[in-house]
Symmetry: none
Subunit: 410 residues, 2 copies
């Protein structure tokens, strides 16, 4: 199926934001086997929105629009669809009532302008938005599809996966299946080297994606049935796992934080966290998982040095002798967190995130892990700016925690 | 001048890379006072490149093309310009000799395909590329400009600044200036309603952008000089500030975390944080600011109820009587954090992030703020899933901290 992507928003034209939505949609369309020949961007102007939709309908089977669905006067995607398709706008009373209820439950009265979000072109359906107030819209216009999705990336992605791609899939023969094998601990080029002879294959094909220090290997197969595609992926996955060993920590949408919580729960172990340079990022990742309270007891962000002693019980003479940014301090922080917060397992980070050095060169981050089997620490160096160093160190801490809990590290 | 931006490259359509070039060019065009109504992306297909150029020439004074200038068979921008303008291709002998020299100096012989980089549409000029081998191209076609720039961002930017913008400037007077007024505490529709009568104005114009509960108001003015543009923005900004009052917390790229740290530093106050449902996100935001260690002492993530008593000193009978998710507990957490972590100011969050309720309905988040002037708590309700609730509550906590520190809340 040929699909055109149209982004609406003056902020895109003047470069206040980058059009990441188009890349996300393009990637997913390619994975699903659709063809994308054009992307377009127009501002908050109803005439130009309608014109772009008309052009898209003339050369594609489906047009996916992002943005312009909010409640304000410059949100004009709904009007643009009406103008391009010659359809009147209709107010959906049910949707208006739900909006009013939603505001009511939050103890606020609804500005009248919000009623625009209960309007849609005649013949369209709403796509319920699980992550925001602006519903998406789908309209079957002749033999074409028009989809309108919110511009907020997480809302767009949710509707793309649950509402748009399944509808487009129904019109195609054959299936494309992908499986992501998630790894940590080696560079992209090292993973690529280990898998070099698998790389040339076109069906199944393999590709590499890197983010925050994790390398994902994507295996994609095209076949006439889902079972056939899965059967083609399976031997390649086995081969990838054999070569990458303990680097592989999960598949598809599994996250290291969910995996490490599950490993802890299996063992009946509880978790405490002691952070300095990562400043709460590890705890934030752990608590992003629903149900994390079954395993996670709590944590301390001991930014000031004296708090490492008073809150975590790190001996002052250890910090004096070895340094605050040292493996000895990291070990004492992990042990102290477990003891003071009533957990079997503790993970800690102390380091220098930059831009100014703190004892050690910026980018030096030391991770400690304590389990009932012992305590270890590892010094790592991360390139890049403060945010990059903190993010990579957080991911590394979660992975070393996994290796410590599963006994691979010792 | 109306300028259209066209990016060429299949890798953009399938989302392997994000179209950052379009954002860079859009931002620079806006700063220079040009109008951008459309951006487009097409793949490495000569017919579609030519068609996109033809459409661009029909509605803009200039078309800036990025990508497709390399030496390989799928670099088709030169051919696309010829097809769109009905001009033959010419080989420029000088340029061919320079390319051969360049390879010779590197001790390599030139593949014949590289000669394509010495070709240009008849009537065009080369734009020398200081950072790579592919020269840019400029063509004056009737009353229109066509520019073709390399896709590599740093090469594109160099030619944009030195060759493209000066040529466009010669035909234009004037500048465009924008100012972002950042607000928190009201919905986008409420802010829009308060500024309703300012909205109709076209120069200066105003627009709204929403993210994580913050609403930004963008004021944009076109004038013949920067001073004139600033002079036009100033009374609108004053009017926006009068109507929105304490909702306004900053301008342009200022963040609430940097602002609240500056307010604390001004007063010589230090900060401690006690988090439950936000699980470290507030501390992570605060410590994302370089130099935050001057103000931030530390924090506790007390996920387990008993740790609220042992680590923060929240009286067990208060939690028993009022509930763990209660304003009394939030106040005691903020006070306990300040006391135990040696700070004048404490901020706390206790709540139910979902999906399962914890005492209160998911989305209920209670924020406490303690300063030398007293202690307050506020119960808030946030819609959406767990991550959204946590993110919005984190932003709200930083804003209530600002209101507490500046004495607006009391």
């Amino acid at each position: 199926m040929i699909v055109e992507v149209l982004a609406v928003g003056t902020e895109l034209l003047i470069g206040q934001i980058v059009n990441g939505n188009a890349a996300t949609i393009g990637r997913r369309l390619a994975e699903e086997g659709h063809d994308a020949h054009h992307q377009a961007v127009v501002g908050d102007n109803v005439g130009r929105i309608a014109e772009a939709i008309t052009i898209g309908l003339s050369r594609a089977d489906a047009v996916i629009i992002t943005g312009g669905l909010g409640p304000t006067q410059d949100d004009l995607t709904r009007e643009g669809i009406c103008l391009a398709t010659g359809r009147p706008m209709e107010l959906v009373q049910d949707a208006a009532d739900r909006l009013r209820d939603r505001f009511g439950r939050l103890g606020r009265s609804m500005p009248e302008s919000n009623l625009r979000q209960a309007e849609r072109p005649e013949g369209a359906e709403f796509l319920p938005n699980p992550k925001g107030t602006a519903p998406g819209i789908v309209l079957r216009h002749g033999q074409r599809w028009i989809f309108a999705l919110p511009g907020v990336p997480e809302e767009m992605e949710a509707l793309l996966e649950t509402e748009v791609l399944p509808r487009l899939r129904s019109g195609e023969g054959g299936v494309v299946k992908s499986k992501l094998i998630r790894t940590w601990g080696s560079s992209e080029s090292m993973v690529a080297e280990l898998l070099d002879d698998l790389y040339g294959s076109t069906n199944p094909s393999i590709a590499f994606l890197a983010s925050s220090g994790e390398i994902k290997v994507r295996i994609t197969a095209k076949a006439s049935t889902e079972a056939d595609a899965n059967g083609m992926i399976e031997p390649i996955e086995r081969s990838v796992r054999e070569r990458l060993g303990a680097r592989v920590f999960g598949v598809d949408q599994e996250t290291i934080e969910a995996i490490v919580l599950a490993l802890l729960a299996d063992r009946g172990w509880r978790l405490a966290i002691a952070e300095s340079a990562t400043g709460g990022l590890i705890a934030a990742r752990i608590t992003s998982v629903p149900g994390s309270s079954k395993v996670f007891r709590g944590g301390a962000v001991t930014y000031a040095t004296d708090l490492k002693a008073t809150v975590l019980g790190v001996p002052a003479d250890v910090m004096e002798r070895e340094g605050v940014v040292s493996e000895a301090t990291a070990r004492a922080m992990a042990e102290g967190a477990a003891e003071r917060f009533g957990a079997e397992v503790g993970v800690s980070v102390t380091g220098s995130a930059g831009p100014d050095p703190q004892e050690r060169e910026p980018g030096t981050m030391i991770i400690g892990v304590h389990t009932p089997n012992g305590t270890q620490a590892r010094t790592m160096r991360f390139p890049g700016d403060r945010e990059r160093v903190r993010t990579y160190a957080t991911t590394a801490a979660l992975h070393l925690l996994r290796l410590g809990v599963t006994g691979v590290w010792w």
